[in-house]
Amino acid sequence: MIPEQVIHDIEPAALRERTAAYRRDGWRLVQICSTTLDVFELSYSFTRDDRFEHLRLRLPLEGAQVDSITEEYFGAFAYENEIHDLFGIRFDGLKLDYLGNFFKTSVSKPFATSMCVVTGGKNNG
C-alpha cells in the first residue's frame, strides 16, 4: 500500500520541537524541500515503518531565516546548505556550514525567484 501523505502545517518557531519529537520516536529524515511561491514553502519529510509525513512551514521571500535541525539530525546539513545556496534562506545554528560554498553556481541564488527566465550560455549560437 502506498501510504497516505500527511502534511502538518506548523509555525517556523515550532520546527525544532516537532523535529525532536520525530527523532525521539525513531523516524528517519527523508528530505527537506523548498518551493518558491509568493513565500518560501519548506517541507520536511519523515518516515517510519510504512508512514510518511511532512512538516510544512512558510517563510517570507525577504530575509528568510529558520532554525537549523542539524542538532537533531546531523544529516540535514546537506539539505540546509543546498537550500541556503540555491534559495538564499539562512539557517541558524548550522553545525557544518559551508558559508555558501556547497553548490557553486554561476548565478547566485538561482531558485530564489520563480518563473524568471535566465538565459543560457552565450556561445550557443
Binding site: Q31, G75, F103
Partner: protein, 359 residues
C-alpha cells in the same frame, strides 16, 4: 601524534568516473575529517520546469542521471499522474516494472565492475561489464535505447512490447543470470575481494538510520526496508523480500547488491511471463494542479520526486532528492578514521552518482 595535512581528492580521479571533490584532513595515514564540495556538474535542471511543459519535462527528468535514467523518468510520470488522478493501464504498469528491474540489474553490474576496477581486479571488471551488455541488449530490443530509454510517458509507456519479444528477452536474461552466478561466487569467496572489503567503512545500524542512509547502504547495515514494498507500479502483485546484511561494512553493501541482481533477474522472468494483455497508454487531459511526493526505489536507494502543479502547462516546482544525496552524510561518517588508501573504495561502496546528487 602526527601532523595534520589536507589532501584534495578529485575532481579528476582514476577511481571516479565522475568529478567529485573531497578535502581529506589526514593525520599520518588516517583520515580525520572529510569535507566534500559540489558544483562541477550542477545543471540546475529543476529550474527547467519553468521553460518546458510538463509532458516535455519527462525527457529532462530522464537525464537527471544516465545510469538510473528510466526510473527518474518514470518516477516523475508517477508523481504527475497521481496529481492528475490518472490510472494507467495494467500492461503499462507491468512494462514499467520490467524496465525498472532491468535498470537495477544493469546499474548494479556496472557498479560491481567499477568496484573490481578500484581494487585492481581488471578481469572481474571486464566480466561484469560483459554480462551487463546482455542486459543492455534486452533494453535496446524493448525500448530502442541503451542507457536513455525514453519510454516513460505521462499516462503509460511510449511503446508496447509484444509477448514474443518478452519471452525472447526472458531467455536472454536467463543465460545472463546463469553466468552471473559464477561471478557472484568470486565476489563472495575470493580472498583478495574479502581482504579489501571486510571490516572497511563501518556504518552502524543506528548511524545509518539517523544520518538518513538509503538503499543498499541502509540494508547493508541491517535495516529491513525497500520502497518497492509500497507496491507502486506492478510491485503490489510481486513478492519482494528486501535483502538485508548485518555486517555493516563494505562487504555487506557489496553482497546486498549482488543478491539484488539475482533478485532482479528472477523478477524479470516472472514479469515476462505474467504481463497482462491490454492497452499501454491512456491519453491524459488537463493540467496538473496539486502536489505529491512520489517515493520509488532506485538501484541506489529511495528517491523522492516532488511535483507541485498550478493548473498551467508549466509546473511550479519539480524536485528530486536522489539517493546519493541522502548517502553523503553517512559517507562522511564512514570516512572518518579510515585509512587513506581505502578512501576511493569506501566512496565507491555507496555507489555514488554525482550527476544525480548535483542535478
Amino acid at each position: 601524534m602526527g601532523e595534520r595535512t589536507v589532501i584534495p581528492f578529485g575532481p579528476q580521479h582514476p577511481v571516479l568516473p565522475e568529478p567529485i571533490h573531497i578535502d581529506l584532513v589526514v593525520e599520518d595515514e588516517h583520515v580525520v575529517e572529510a569535507i566534500p564540495s559540489f558544483g562541477f556538474i550542477h545543471r540546475g535542471l529543476e529550474k527547467l520546469v519553468e521553460k518546458k511543459d510538463f509532458h516535455e519535462f519527462t525527457y529532462v527528468a530522464e537525464r537527471v542521471c544516465g545510469i538510473c535514467s528510466y526510473i527518474h523518468g518514470m518516477g516523475y510520470c508517477q508523481a504527475v499522474e497521481t496529481v492528475m488522478n490518472i490510472q494507467i493501464p495494467p500492461r503499462a504498469k507491468w512494462l514499467r516494472t520490467f524496465w525498472c528491474e532491468l535498470s537495477r540489474a544493469h546499474s548494479h553490474l556496472l557498479w560491481a565492475g567499477l568496484l573490481a576496477d578500484a581494487f585492481g581486479f581488471e578481469n572481474l571488471f571486464m566480466q561484469c561489464w560483459r554480462i551487463r551488455e546482455t542486459v543492455l541488449d534486452v533494453i535496446e530490443e524493448t525500448t530502442g535505447g541503451r542507457v536513455i530509454f525514453g519510454s516513460a510517458k505521462i499516462g503509460g509507456v511510449r511503446r508496447d512490447v509484444d509477448n514474443d519479444t518478452l519471452k525472447r528477452c526472458a531467455v536472454k536474461i536467463a543465460s545472463a543470470a546463469a553466468e552471473f552466478e559464477e561471478l557472484k561466487k568470486v565476489f563472495r569467496d575470493d580472498y583478495s575481494v574479502k581482504q579489501r572489503l571486510c571490516g572497511i567503512g563501518m556504518l552502524s545500524r543506528d548511524d545509518a538510520w539517523t544520518l538518513g542512509a538509503v538503499g543498499p547502504t541502509l540494508r547493508g547495515s541491517g535495516v529491513r526496508t525497500d520502497t518497492r514494498l509500497e507496491g507502486y507500479a506492478a510491485y503490489n502483485e510481486l513478492k519482494i523480500e528486501p535483502i538485508v546484511e548485518t555486517a555493516c561494512d563494505s562487504y555487506a553493501r557489496c553482497m546486498v547488491r549482488m543478491h539484488e541482481v539475482t533478485q532482479s533477474f528472477d523478477l524479470i522472468q516472472e514479469i515476462a511471463a505474467r504481463t497482462p494483455e491490454g492497452p499501454v497508454f491512456e491519453k491524459p487531459s488537463g493540467y496538473p494542479n496539486g502536489e505529491y511526493f512520489a517515493r520509488l526505489e532506485q538501484p541506489r536507494g529511495e528517491v523522492i520526486y516532488y511535483v507541485k502543479g498550478n493548473g498551467t502547462k508549466n509546473l511550479s516546482r519539480f524536485r528530486v532528492r536522489t539517493p546519493t544525496f541522502a548517502n553523503i552524510p553517512p559517507l562522511l561518517h564512514m570516512l572518518q578514521g579510515c585509512e587513506l588508501a581505502d578512501v576511493g573504495l569506501i566512496v565507491l561502496t555507496i555507489d555514488p552518482c554525482i550527476s544525480c546528487a548535483e542535478r
